[in-house]
């Protein structure tokens, strides 16, 4: 699972992992995201004290298919320091991990503190899901907007919610939500005029809010003042994306999406969320936040019940409050009640959920003649699809198009890979596509690979060409040396020409001097 939470854990040192395992949430999440066979092994070892069970016991119980998975499962457990082998041939569970899971499983908790959560009404739950969608789309559209090449939406017609200086963007979004394919010249002109008017207004507003912010921070309701969110977004989230490698600064001090950023758009939500969160966690030291606070809060969110709102803990530092505000801007929680209550959003379920290979909510159908049918009216979805599909028609719930070579080559230029594209389509495939095996018709997937390979037809190396050798012997001697050191790129015995990589120049020069000396 690329870029997921487990990959991050594998990179940590043992002591750091043990620190994390002292929180039972982490143990639970790790246990749930383990591959299937590893889970079973952990279950078997749960009740057994060290030195544990013999490896042969595990190996005896495997079927043919199981034997293939056995090594991988054990490796994973070792790499996450869940399993130790104290005796030869025996494996047992790590003490800390074992004790945490035992606590969860035997239900031995002490009721020390008051339970501070309450159920939510239906409308409030809708609010939270809207909020999370808004925030997440804000990030994705920002990445799309900052792409270096022309992107499907053009310069100004897009519904980034309170991101630009254009404060009427929300009204534009209602108009433009489904008009991806129509020409937008009229809209562009309209937006230019509005932008001119609103830059003046927003500049005035910015100066006023910054002064009031310091005094009345606690009384501002985060949802009422979009200016505040705008500023915070530019200040904190954008640099975060930059450090995660998704954006770069150009010479003109503008942000541009990198190739990694473009690939980010095509990953599934779990990986996307974790790239951002991991960057936040690794930046903790710089922002003087305690890692344990951040990780424990995040994992608790991963287990939160969507129907409940909770009071924030008392006595938080300014920096911890900032962290929670950043979570609000990212869309994981919804703050309200003068920032005393937070509601977890549907986005949090992706923190702990690993996507199964096949989901039952897919909505795209791909045919062998490269026609695609996308059952969605979501602007973000259509945007991402328009990177590799030439959209032709749009109906209220359906968009049709063809995958063309031009579009695909452009996408590959921008940084996409054929494998990632195939995974993306498989992930979003309509369940009716599962009637055929493999899911994506092999004509299409192989064609993607061909088009990708076309990019790599030519490879360039800096090199020097040696010719006009004094004798055949010299030529053969130098060719030998070149072949031994793997610096030879091309040679021709007839014409006595050798092309050698630039890195190997020194070696060849020495050899030539040697042969000259020997001749002399």
């Amino acid at each position: 699972m690329e870029g997921g939470f487990l990959d991050y854990l594998v990179t940590l040192k043992r002591e750091e992992i043990y620190d994390l395992y002292r929180q039972s949430f982490v143990c639970e999440i790790v246990f749930r995201t383990l591959p299937v066979l590893s889970k079973q092994y952990v279950c078997r070892l749960l009740a057994i004290p060290p030195p544990g069970l013999e490896l042969t016991l595990f190996e005896d119980c495997l079927t043919k298919e199981g034997k293939k998975e056995h090594d991988g499962a054990l490796k994973k457990l070792h790499s996450l320091s869940i399993i130790e082998s104290q005796k030869k041939g025996f494996i047992c569970l790590n003490k800390i991990f074992q004790s945490q899971i035992r606590k969860i499983v035997t239900g031995s908790f002490v009721d020390e503190q008051l339970v501070q959560s309450f159920r939510l009404f239906g409308k409030e739950i809708q609010k939270t899901s809207k909020h999370s969608k808004k925030c997440w789309e804000r990030i994705m559209f920002y990445l799309i907007k900052k792409l270096p090449h022309k992107n499907p939406l053009g310069k100004s017609t897009y519904p980034i919610h309170d991101l630009d200086d254009n404060s009427n963007s929300s009204s534009n979004s209602n108009n433009n939500s489904n008009n991806l394919i129509l020409k937008k010249d009229l809209d562009r002109k309209r937006n230019r005029n509005e932008m001119k008017k609103n830059t003046l207004k927003s500049n005035k507003k910015k100066s006023s809010t910054s002064s009031t912010n310091k005094n009345h921070k606690k009384r501002i309701n985060a949802q009422d003042k979009p200016e505040l969110i705008k500023n915070q977004f530019q200040k904190t989230i954008v640099p975060l994306l930059k450090e995660a490698g998704l954006l770069t600064l150009t010479k003109k001090k503008e942000y541009r999406t990198t190739k990694e950023g473009f690939r980010f758009l095509f990953k599934n939500k779990h990986q996307q969320i974790w790239t951002i969160l991991l960057q936040y966690i690794s930046d903790c030291k710089r922002h003087h936040l305690e890692k344990s606070f951040v990780t424990s809060f995040l994992f608790r969110l991963g287990f939160s019940d969507l129907n409940k709102g909770t009071f924030l803990p008392l006595g938080m530092d300014d920096k911890q409050k900032k962290f929670i505000l950043n979570l609000h801007i990212l869309g994981f929680i919804c703050l309200s009640g003068h920032w005393k209550i937070y509601y977890p959003t549907p986005l949090t379920k992706y923190i702990s959920k690993t996507d199964s290979k096949i989901s039952q909510h897919g909505n795209i159908v791909l045919e062998t003649n490269f026609k695609t049918y996308i059952y969605s009216s979501d602007l973000l979805d259509l945007c991402i699809f328009s990177f590799f599909v030439k959209l032709q028609h749009q109906l209220p719930n359906l968009a049709t198009g063809i995958i063309t070579k031009k579009k695909i080559r452009k996408a590959f230029k921008m940084g996409l890979t054929a494998e990632l594209l195939i995974q993306y389509i498989e992930h979003l495939a309509h369940p009716k596509m599962f009637l055929k095996f493999p899911i994506i018709p092999p004509t299409v997937s192989e064609q993607f690979h061909h088009w990708e390979a076309e990019k790599n037809r030519l490879s360039f190396d800096l090199s020097t060409v040696y010719q006009n050798f004094e004798s055949k012997n010299q030529y053969h001697a130098i060719l030998k040396v070149a072949l031994e050191n793997n610096i030879e790129l091309w040679h021709s015995d007839q014409n006595e020409i050798i092309a050698i990589k630039q890195s190997g120049e020194d070696i060849i020069v020495k050899e030539i001097q040697k042969t000259r000396d020997s001749m002399l």
Binding site: L46, H70, K340
Partner: protein
Amino acid sequence: MTTLLCVVLDINQENWDLPKTNNSMNEENGSLELGKFLDKFFVFLKTFLLLDPQNEFSLFLNSSPRVELIYPKPQQKSTGKKSKINEMKKERTMLKELYLKRISQQKHRKKNQLQNKQKEQIQMDFGGGGGGGGSGEDEILRMKEKSSFEKEIKTSISDFLTNLKPNSVEGKTTSLSESLSRVLCYINSVLKKKERQRISQQQSSNKKNTTNTMSLNQKKILSTEERVRQLELSQMLADSALRPRIMVVQLSKDVPSQYVPVMNCIFASQKIQIPIDALVLSKVDSMFLQQASHITEGVYYKTTSQSEILQILLTNFIVDHWSRRFLKLPKPSNIDYRATCFDNQKVVELGYVCSVCLSIFSKYSVLCPNCHTRFPIKKIDKIKFNSKK
């Protein structure tokens, strides 16, 4: 990988040992005590719930006149919306008051205490650092919800046992056929509920997709290759959906009169691919459960030792559908396939079979008791005699 585990627990009082004797004696004899068994069983259930957040289980009590669904309790009809909203409002005002109290308390404390102690409190709130789990608020609530099933189940079992009439047959006989059929009906209703919920969710989110259900019984004429592929795919799809499983804990002996209904239940669960796992806690093998686990490809384990039970549950019975491809699990050996006569319920090795309804009898009769087709032997003999000529 999400599974719905339905457990059928044999509650026959005579077979469970009473905790009257000393504990040491119990352990030496390896006798089975209901309370201790339940404790271990709850540990097993909790690890099962830990495997996947959407795992569910239900517990049935196997006793003869009525099979009781102990968990989750069938909900009474919901009180109207207004009362619910009033309840929620009351909750909130209560919590707000508590919260404000805490703030005022803290303000007093702020003046008195140092800042270091505050930081400790924050860590305690979140259970971070050396807290060692278990001191977070949400955590407590979550564990309360899940661990509350322990108390619920224990109280409902004790209620059931105390409510039994002293002289009646209740609680002293078990009926495997009744419990299996009840469980299958329950599974069917749960699956249908989930489908209805899913369809309504899709409609509410304004996505007009075609229905995504892949029914397990597909009636199309396909080549063998396509069929294999479709099975694989339907398996993969079904893995992401809720997969039901039945587990039977049995102490009592088989009742041979129940042969026919038990076999019907077994074939029904075989058709819809629901494995029946059996844990037999007696010295004698149970013929029905052996056949059940063999036909439905489930697990069969027989043991009498109290101490082994938890490890057995955690190794063999926690394995879900997806991982059964990778692991070899204990299967029944030496299965007794002998049938019982449909009339007098005696075990039959050599008997008469009706060619129409395939029911087995030990004695010949002209009229099949099940399907009422006539088999007049004298006329058949005559036909044979004529054909020989």
